[in-house]
């Protein structure tokens, strides 16, 4: 057991930290709500461009595709440093972490040459068209049709919960190409130009008031056959590659962001009066704040064990499957603690920039997006504990 970084890892961290200190832009001054997305997106694209020019955008990719061939532990360090520096997010995250790796695994040489460099530079933004109104947790039951017509597929159907679709240039789209085959065997993955005629994006306003998800409608959209990713009717294998990456959030950045949020809450609780004394001295809030600290530590430590396991064996161990469950459910309990400790002010959009009310609402989705807690518990029960499949 050795929890220190190796000299190489320290060197990597120091180099990145120095670069971030010199290059992180001041926070975006304007409004980040949907009307202003144009300017905000440009700000984020510029930032990713800067990061990619310096070689920090796709470090885990192989060198020939613009990466550094970085190891997992370096990815974890990068996420941690990014969060520590309060650097803006990389706008093309879906391209960098999910779709790019899928193209690297399943793509043709032409597809790799055509798409990968522009993912890294944020010249082309990507979204992921998997979920449908009737295909959520059971995504393999998707119904969006793609019918071969000479050298094109003609796509008709609807996707939902599509992050970034309103800004995206391209979409990794799962379609049904053989309606008669068993559900996992009639799916094809297509690389779809979002500017094609027949693509309509409608923002989905969430309970937070934001619209970070969309509905996307496809009406006779024509996609050239060379844009099939992987093989026709074998798109489920392609999708699995992406989904595996989706749940392999390295957690280190998430931890830093949560820890900062907890520190902010503790500071706020010291300033909030309850019965003439700071809320931080109230025994009930102390218990809850300490419990938040405990749970956050458990997340940090389980994540470290998971990273160790992946570094040693190349595959996540049993602890890997519980991380998303841990952080999502923690975050909901924690935001409730914040609402309690801060009292009536916490509900106001004008208090601390509305961060507490926003977080409280936003975390509601944490146990739904990227695998519901129920699906994740099924996975733990079946694949880790070996219980019989329930469906």
């Amino acid at each position: 057991m050795n929890l220190n970084l190796t000299p190489d890892q320290q060197h990597f961290r120091d180099e990145l930290r120095t670069w971030l200190q010199a290059n992180v832009p001041p926070p975006f001054a304007g409004n980040t709500s949907e009307e202003e997305k144009g300017e905000y997106f440009q700000y984020l694209r510029d930032w990713q461009r800067k990061a990619s020019d310096a070689g920090w955008a796709a470090i885990s990719w192989p060198k020939e595709y613009g990466g550094r061939g970085a190891k997992l532990i370096e990815m974890a360090i990068l996420q941690e440093e990014w969060a520590r520096a309060e650097a803006p997010p990389l706008i093309n995250a879906l391209g960098l972490y999910l779709i790019g790796p899928t193209i690297i695994t399943a793509g043709t040489p032409e597809q790799k040459a055509r798409f990968l460099p522009k993912i890294v530079s944020a010249e082309e933004i990507w979204c992921q068209g998997f979920s449908e109104p009737n295909a959520g947790s059971d995504v393999a039951s998707l119904a969006t049709k793609a019918v071969l017509d000479d050298d094109h597929f003609v796509v008709n159907g609807q996707k939902i919960w599509t992050s970034l679709a309103h800004a995206a240039d391209w979409c990794l789209l799962l379609t049904r190409t053989d309606p008669d085959a068993p559900k996992h065997k009639g799916i094809t993955a297509l690389l779809v130009d979002m500017h094609s005629p027949g693509v309509v994006v409608r923002p989905l306003k969430q309970m937070t008031g934001d619209a970070s998800f969309n509905e996307v409608f496809f009406d006779n959209v024509r996609v050239p056959v060379p844009n099939v990713l992987g093989e026709i009717n074998k798109g489920w294998q392609t999708a699995i590659t992406t989904l595996m990456n989706e749940r392999a959030n390295l957690g280190t950045g998430t931890y830093i962001a949560f820890k900062r949020n907890l520190d902010e809450l503790i500071e706020r609780a010291r300033q909030t009066k309850r019965g003439g004394k700071p809320a931080s001295q109230n025994p009930i809030y102390r218990q809850k704040l300490a419990q938040a600290y405990v749970e956050l530590e458990i997340f940090r430590l389980t994540n470290m064990r998971s990273l160790t396991r992946i570094s040693q064996t190349g595959a996540p161990g049993p602890e890997g499957s519980i991380l998303k469950l841990q952080w999502s459910e923690f975050n909901q309990r924690f935001q409730q603690t914040a609402m309690e400790a801060l009292g009536p002010h916490a509900q106001l959009w004008g208090f601390d920039d509305g961060r507490w009310v926003f977080n409280y609402l936003r975390t509601r989705a944490n146990t739904i997006e990227a695998g519901t807690s129920e699906i994740l518990r099924n996975i733990v029960a079946e694949r880790v504990l070996g219980l019989p499949k329930s469906y």
């Binding site: 929890l3 405990v294 430590l301 518990r377 733990v380």
Partner: protein, 376 residues
């Protein structure tokens, strides 16, 4: 970064698992539960032969000189076997002696403890059963070159079999640690039956017990530090025991869910049951993360050590109880019977939750360190 047991530690753990599967089967645990002291001399000697009674005692005092991380690999297996007897009590006392004792005192006590020839325990709690050291009221009155002890200590584990009891008392200058040997004049030990019969509790009456001042292990301010540091070792060892108990409960519950049939199917096919098991796994792995880290932090004297120990004890206390609850729920009626071994682990979990302070106690410890404004 390598946050896992080493190959050697995993081998040690496997050998401990094999040892207890052979030497401490549930039938034996039940026999010891029913006995007065839960002490098995042959088993104790066999553990001493393995070197475990001296696992973290320095080599110059006859121990193996291994680290706390090595130790938890073994105490996890003790928890899995629900090992009865004074191992933890002796470990706690030895850790206090190691940190507070003079060279001569360490030799005097640690060598026979490592050799398996001496059992020991610590008398800390009093009538108000407060784990805070400030709550220690019992006076150690100076009388010439002696201390005189009068008062009663409660919740003293394994006092009946202990060859020496380290009594934590209050002298004029602060806390004093006085080793009192078995059979000392004025020492009266009475059993107090508790929820867990595998770790016996006693009320220990000191009626003007005389101990030479020269026997005292240390004086303030070192006493407080020594008690904190030594108790941290015992807390981490206990957390690993609790982890082993959780692992046993998880594995046996999953096994039961695979074989128990209702409505023509194994109950483990139903998601309501699956999710109970998944939660048990979540809590067990969380406890493992916290325990490993605390063991590492204490053995490395990391600045986070005290906090890490409280995080581990807070989390393990809640998790061990809750894993037991979920396990009992999945077992249904059979899990509520005396006959089923689940009850052994369920009760041990409750007693362990209480020992050294429960989750509420340790959360307040954490709050003092992270919620209160610290200087600088």
């Amino acid at each position: 970064m390598d946050f896992d047991l080493s190959k050697a530690q995993k081998l040690l753990q496997q050998s401990a698992r094999d040892f207890f599967a052979r030497e401490c089967q549930p039938e034996r645990v039940r026999e010891l539960m029913a006995s007065d002291t839960a002490f098995d001399d042959a088993l104790w000697r066999a553990m001493a032969d393995q070197g475990w009674t001296g696992l973290i005692i320095p080599e110059e005092h006859g121990g193996l000189g291994l680290s706390l991380v090595d130790l938890i690999a073994v105490t996890e297996e003790m928890g899995r076997a629900c090992l009865p007897g004074p191992f933890l009590s002796t470990l706690w006392a030895a850790a206090l002696i190691d940190r507070a004792g003079s060279e001569g005192q360490r030799k005097q006590y640690l060598e026979p403890i490592a050799a398996g020839e001496m059992k020991a325990t610590v008398a800390l709690l009093e009538e108000d059963a407060d784990w805070n050291l400030q709550a220690v009221q019992m006076r150690a009155e100076k009388d010439g070159k002696d201390y005189r002890l009068s008062g009663r200590k409660e919740f003293v584990t394994d006092a009946e079999v202990a060859d020496v009891i380290i009594c934590v008392a209050r002298g004029d200058g602060g806390l004093v640690l006085l080793p009192i040997e078995r059979g000392a004049q004025g020492l009266k030990i009475a059993a107090t039956l508790g929820v867990d019969a595998t770790r016996k509790l006693y009320s220990v009456e000191f009626e003007d017990v005389v101990a030479p001042e020269a026997n005292a292990l240390a004086f303030n301010p070192r006493t407080q530090e020594a008690v904190d540091a030594g108790t941290s070792v015992a807390i981490v060892a206990l957390c690993a025991e609790m982890l082993g108990g959780m692992q046993w409960t998880l594995e046996n519950t999953v096994e039961y869910a695979k074989t128990r049939q209702q409505f023509g199917k194994p109950i483990g096919i139903y998601q309501a049951v699956q999710h109970q098991c998944a939660d048990m796994f979540l809590m067990t792995e969380g406890a493992r993360s916290a325990t490993y880290y605390a063991a590492w932090a204490v053995s490395e004297n990391d600045p986070s050590a005290k906090l890490a120990v409280s995080v581990a004890k807070a989390y393990c206390s809640d998790a061990a109880r809750e894993v037991g609850n979920r396990g009992a729920q999945v077992h249904g009626g059979i899990g509520f019977t005396w006959e089923h071994n689940l009850q052994l682990y369920y009760k041990r979990a409750k007693a362990s939750e209480i020992m050294f302070g429960d989750a509420n106690y340790h959360r307040e410890e954490i709050a003092r360190r992270v919620v209160d404004e610290t200087e600088g």
